[in-house]
């Protein structure tokens, strides 16, 4: 009988293993923040998790502003206005030194989860794709590819449109590590732009307003 119980207990786990982060249905969480935060932000000594939603930060006017900045129907938020985004505030010896934030973006064969850590000025310190599906998906998770984004900020997207793939500047110089997964390459760039815009609206714009 105990075998049956083991099976029954395991059954939901097996079923949900196809959707391991199903609990975080729309908002994007780190799978294991205690392990991932020090990896993405090497000098961190602690972190705090916050939940922010467009609804509570500004409601429909903010949503409209974000959508205008995203600039295209190809950059949907995939999240209702009241769904909380998970924001990790990073500390070093009690002093805030940056942020980590992730977004979902639609890829060719599944959801792509794109995380970045930023310093207090909004520059990218590290870049991490938590989940991506496809034959050559591993190439997008390669450290060499991730390093190409270090030091970038939202300004780097001023001269580049990740929807059309046209433009110039640092983003345009990044080459697709897996040409057979072109859809996913642009999904990563679109997701990154979305991530930077959301962080600007949630964190940096309000901070600029205070100054």
């Amino acid at each position: 009988m105990i075998k049956s119980v083991i099976f029954f207990l395991l059954l939901p786990v097996i079923c949900l293993s196809g959707a391991s982060a199903a609990v975080a249905a729309v908002a994007c969480d780190l799978n294991d923040a205690d392990r991932d935060v020090p990896r993405l932000f090497r000098e961190s000594t602690s972190y705090k998790t916050f939940y922010v939603s467009i609804g509570e930060r500004g409601g429909p006017p903010l949503l409209k502003r974000i959508e205008n900045r995203l600039g295209s129907s190809y950059l949907p938020l995939y999240a209702p206005i009241d769904v909380p985004y998970t924001l990790y505030e990073i500390y070093r010896n009690g002093e805030k030194v940056g942020y980590i934030h992730g977004v979902n973006q639609k890829g060719q064969f599944g959801g792509v989860q794109i995380f970045m850590s930023q310093d207090l000025a909004g520059r990218i310190k590290s870049f991490y794709i938590q989940k991506i599906t496809g034959k050559s998906a591993g190439k997008f998770r390669d450290v060499k590819f991730a390093k190409k984004f270090v030091g970038m900020s939202l300004k780097d997207f001023d001269g580049y449109d990740p929807v059309t793939g046209k433009g110039a500047g640092r983003v345009a110089e990044i080459t697709n590590p897996a040409p057979e997964m072109e859809t996913d390459f642009y999904a990563v760039l679109r997701g990154l732009k979305k991530n930077l815009i959301l962080m600007d609206e949630f964190v940096f714009a309000p901070e600029r307003g205070k100054q």
Partner: protein, 394 residues
């Protein structure tokens, strides 16, 4: 004219901090008690719902499958035990059986999920028999497969959200790199089906390179003798039978230990709260001996004094009890989350079910136990001798 109730309220308000702390004690014990009873009720209800939503009451699988299920998760399906699909024909012949459906469970390792990879699970189901087992399924968009060997998937609500899939999108089976088209997305059911990716049985068999299955789901006829059927199924070669009613009973037995522990804590909490009540009311009586003596000289009978002191206990327990029930209702979702973290298996849906009869039962219990605790202080107050008390105080 001032009523005994008003006098009792004023007496309690004389020592506000003491009264407040006693109320906190009663409130906390009520909170624990009503949450525990709510859990007892809610857990069984949720478990029943989960089992009913399986669509079938019995499962037949190859021997050793529970352990292989764990292997499947850890190693991505390597070493799974299978059985012949012809087994379905043997089972369906039994007179107790209403419907059967063959299932193939597969799991593949996806190296690009999380830091060190993850498992993607697939349920191969027979389009002809499986939907009939799940008549409560509703599609958010799309529908079931177009044919029995289609390269298609139907996704549970959560699975589709996680994968950002819509009807018409493609998915890819990791390891095998096989592309499948999304043809249906289910509405949320609150069960494990929400995280499931369904594939036509024949398609998954082709992807897995096997003609076998891992499980047969059996729906038993109404009023059929299930234990008789189980005995017959055990005669089949190299299979084991999982009965969900037995599973339910065993899970409830496992949970019973936790229930007894929490019940013990609740009883201790109530006892501590009641000792607090006795202490508060007794202290209040001892501080008012002279007053009680004067009341008696004015004609108050022992019964009047008894009722006055007992009313104080009643007020304390009622207010504390109502506040405790209020907090339990307010924080039911938090309790739910905490309980889920502790339990080895938590079914979907709400685990803590607090309704009006349960709230009233808890309130009556708290007030009843409280009134019993108040008997001694009230009796002691009633026995105060007027002259002696006045002389002593003077």
């Amino acid at each position: 004219m001032i009523t005994p109730f008003q006098i009792a309220c004023r007496n309690l308000l004389r020592k506000k901090v003491r009264t407040f702390l006693t109320l906190i004690g009663i409130m906390l014990s009520t909170w624990v008690m009503v949450s525990l009873f709510g859990f007892n009720k809610g857990y069984e209800k949720a478990l029943n719902r989960d089992i009913e939503n399986m669509g079938y009451q019995l499962m037949v699988m190859a021997k050793g499958c529970p352990y292989e299920a764990a292997t499947m998760m850890l190693q991505g399906g390597k070493g799974l035990r299978y059985m012949e699909q012809s087994m379905v024909n043997d089972i369906v012949k039994e007179p107790e059986v209403e419907k059967v459906t063959p299932i193939l469970m597969q799991a593949y390792f996806d190296p690009n999920k999380g830091e060190s990879g993850g498992i993607a699970g697939y349920f191969g189901v027979d389009p002809a028999s499986y939907p009939a087992m799940k008549p409560f399924f509703r599609f958010r968009s799309g529908g079931w497969f177009h044919d029995e060997a289609a390269q298609e998937v139907v996704m549970g609500y959560e699975a589709a959200e996680l994968e950002q899939r819509e009807v018409g999108d493609m998915t890819m089976v990791p390891e095998k790199n096989v592309q499948l088209k999304v043809v249906g997305i289910l509405e949320r059911t609150g069960t494990q089906d929400d995280g499931t990716i369904f594939v036509p049985l024949k398609s998954l068999q082709r992807i897995a390179g096997t003609a076998k299955i891992t499980t047969v789901g059996i729906k038993v006829k109404k009023d059929a003798d299930m234990s008789k059927l189980e005995t017959k199924l055990y005669q089949l070669k190299d299979v084991q039978v999982v009965s969900f009613s037995q599973v339910k009973q065993t899970i409830l037995k496992l949970i019973a230990t936790a229930r007894v522990m929490v019940l013990s804590i609740a009883i201790v909490a109530i006892l501590i709260a009641m000792v607090g009540v006795v202490n508060t009311v007794l202290m209040s009586v001892l501080e008012r001996v002279q007053e009680i003596g004067i009341l008696k000289t004015m004609g108050a009978m022992p019964g009047d004094i008894f009722r006055l002191v007992w009313t104080e206990t009643l007020i304390l327990c009622s207010v504390g009890g109502i506040a405790g029930i209020g907090f339990a209702l307010l924080f039911a979702q938090v309790t739910d989350i905490l309980v889920r973290r502790i339990l080895p298996y938590a079914p979907g849906g709400g685990l803590v079910a607090i309704d009006l009869p349960l709230a009233l039962l808890t309130l009556v219990t708290i007030v009843g136990v409280g009134l019993l605790s108040g008997l001694y202080p009230a009796w002691k107050a009633g026995r105060v001798r007027p002259l002696e008390s006045i002389r002593r105080e003077g």
